[in-house]
């Protein structure tokens, strides 16, 4: 139960004023610009875009600044902002095959058309803190190499040529493409709605679930079939024009996970798949998403649902960090009446307990209230 509580306005005003002061910090130090945040804390900004489910770098940078770097708070701000905007429509499905690739690797094939492109990766760094970065050191320009525009075939297509892998994934969409921002969550949920929920889901939560599948809780023996990061064109059908127009490009990370086999009396064994697609450069998240997507397909493959990562209600209902933080943090709100009722109850129970055990036993001394 909640009770309306009045008072505290002055305290709240002053708390917000104090927050603004602490956020700004030492006035002798220049304030961060949004360009600095978007440019130099780019992956934090990407995470806010992905989990805020709103692609807008400048707004995400503002959210990071306003939240003092508390990324879940920043995600919350991005989500709140997006509810104020009208929806113009749905884009045409992005063509990730036509991506302007900035990174592309496969753990399945060493030599593949287009090659292994490492891009701006943390992999192979030594994870040693670099004291030079404490200052403004000069950084050399990236190396360049001329290249003939080699087509970058998907790894899944290579396997598909021999029929060794399941198709990309067809969903019964007789009732339209699922949209968790429009329809309340109902379980069982279609894979399209699950992917939408996972794409905006909390990276830490999905990472832990993905890890659990590797440790034996719904093992699916995954290979990173292909990971690509890059820019894709966004197009939309414009009703007043009668044709589609390009809105510009967004950066996404895509992960195609290749998993162990499924087959039946009718169908020969083939690799199964999990898919991840996330805003920005978010490789860990895309991989975790793909592993969890595969785990959630247990019923489709007739696998026993024995692990948390396979339980779609558990995963989908708890992966959204805005919902999660809302419910956890609401415990800060006044529950005075609730608590009074509990106090009353525990006192009554103790009295009954004392009545039933006395006079045989000596009661422990009551803790101070």
């Amino acid at each position: 139960m909640y009770v309306a509580v009045k008072g505290g306005e002055a305290a709240i005003d002053n708390a917000h004023r104090l927050l603004a002061d602490r956020r700004r910090g030492d006035r002798a130090v220049p304030a961060l610009t949004l360009e600095q945040i978007a440019g130099q804390l780019a992956l934090a900004v990407d995470r806010v875009m992905a989990e805020g489910s709103l692609y807008d770098r400048e707004l995400a940078a503002l959210a990071v600044k306003q939240s003092r770097g508390d990324l879940i708070e920043a995600v919350f701000l991005a989500r709140a902002y997006r509810t104020t905007l009208p929806r113009f429509g749905y884009s045409r499905p992005l063509d990730t095959a036509a991506m302007l690739v900035e990174r592309r690797i496969s753990a399945c094939y060493k030599d593949l058309p287009g090659g292994q492109l490492l891009g701006p990766t943390f992999d192979y760094t030594h994870r040693l803190l670099d004291p030079r970065l404490a200052g403004d050191v000069s950084i050399e320009e990236p190396a360049r190499r001329e290249t003939s525009d080699a087509s970058m075939m998907r790894v899944s297509e290579i396997l598909a040529q021999e029929g060794l892998i399941e198709a990309d994934g067809a969903i019964d969409q007789a009732r339209g493409v699922g949209d968790i921002t429009r329809a309340p969550a109902e379980f069982p949920m279609n894979r399209d709605s699950r992917l939408q929920a996972l794409s905006r889901g909390d990276e830490g939560f999905l990472l832990a679930l993905a890890y659990s599948t590797q440790r034996g809780y719904a093992r699916s023996h995954p290979f990173a079939g292909e990971i690509r990061i890059g820019e894709v064109e966004v197009e939309i059908e414009v009703p007043e024009l009668g044709f589609s127009v390009s809105l510009g490009r967004i950066q996404v990370t895509e992960c195609q996970m290749v998993n162990q086999f499924a087959g039946s009396a009718k169908a020969p064994p083939q690799f199964t798949r999990g898919y991840g697609l996330v805003f920005g450069q978010s490789e860990r998240k895309a991989m975790a998403m793909a592993l969890v997507d595969r785990a959630l397909r247990a019923a489709e493959f007739g696998e026993d649902v024995v692990a948390p990562a396979q339980d779609e209600e558990f995963v989908i209902a708890h992966c959204d960090n805005v919902q999660a933080t809302g419910f956890v943090e609401h415990l800060k709100m006044p529950h005075y009446v609730d608590f009074q009722a509990e106090l009353d109850l525990v006192r009554r129970m103790r009295a009954e307990h004392a009545g039933s055990t006395a006079p045989h036993e000596q009661q422990p001394r009551e803790a101070a209230e």
């Binding site: 009208p86 929806r87 113009f88 429509g89 749905y90 429009r182 009703p239 007043e240």
Partner: protein
Amino acid sequence: MEVMNVLGGGFAEPVLGAQVAFRAVMGAMAEPGTIRDLPGDGPTPPTPLSPAMAAVICTLCDADTPLWLDPILVKSDAVSRWIAFWTGAPVTQNPVEAYFAVVSDPQAMPALESFALGSQEFPDRSTTIILQVADFHSGPGLSLSGPGIRVRASIAPAPMPRSFVTQWAANNAHYPRGIDMILAGPGAVAALPRTAKIANLED
């Protein structure tokens, strides 16, 4: 240059216009039989769509709300394009799929039963009919009762669909399922929500 007229003529102030019109529709729904003024500087749509109809459409319809247009409106390319430009709402041929039905010729309107009535679980998933009327006083008198009406209210819109009172009684019988209706007359709206009971005033 037809294209000019098609794309011109939404609300002069889209947000404020839609807010004022929404308040009018909400008031009309809350108190069936009352006539609520629409904002003065409303849309100027291509004929045969009336400005009041257009104001209601601009206020309630968007890309998420499939519309059914009556045969006269479907024939007008200008109307379809105007609706697409100002609302982005998809047009459906099938009345059962329509969130809103836009009816410019009430007397030729299909039976109420041909539209979506909603389900027991989701009675809100029914069609709302936006009906274009010439006025609210020259038709056969209708006597209204039900939620939002103190005792009785009366209204005499014209023209109205054939056998309307009989059809409406059948609509009432589906409750909580059923059709809601918004009447758009010159510069104003009235509404007949599914909860309204309607009798002929002469009876």
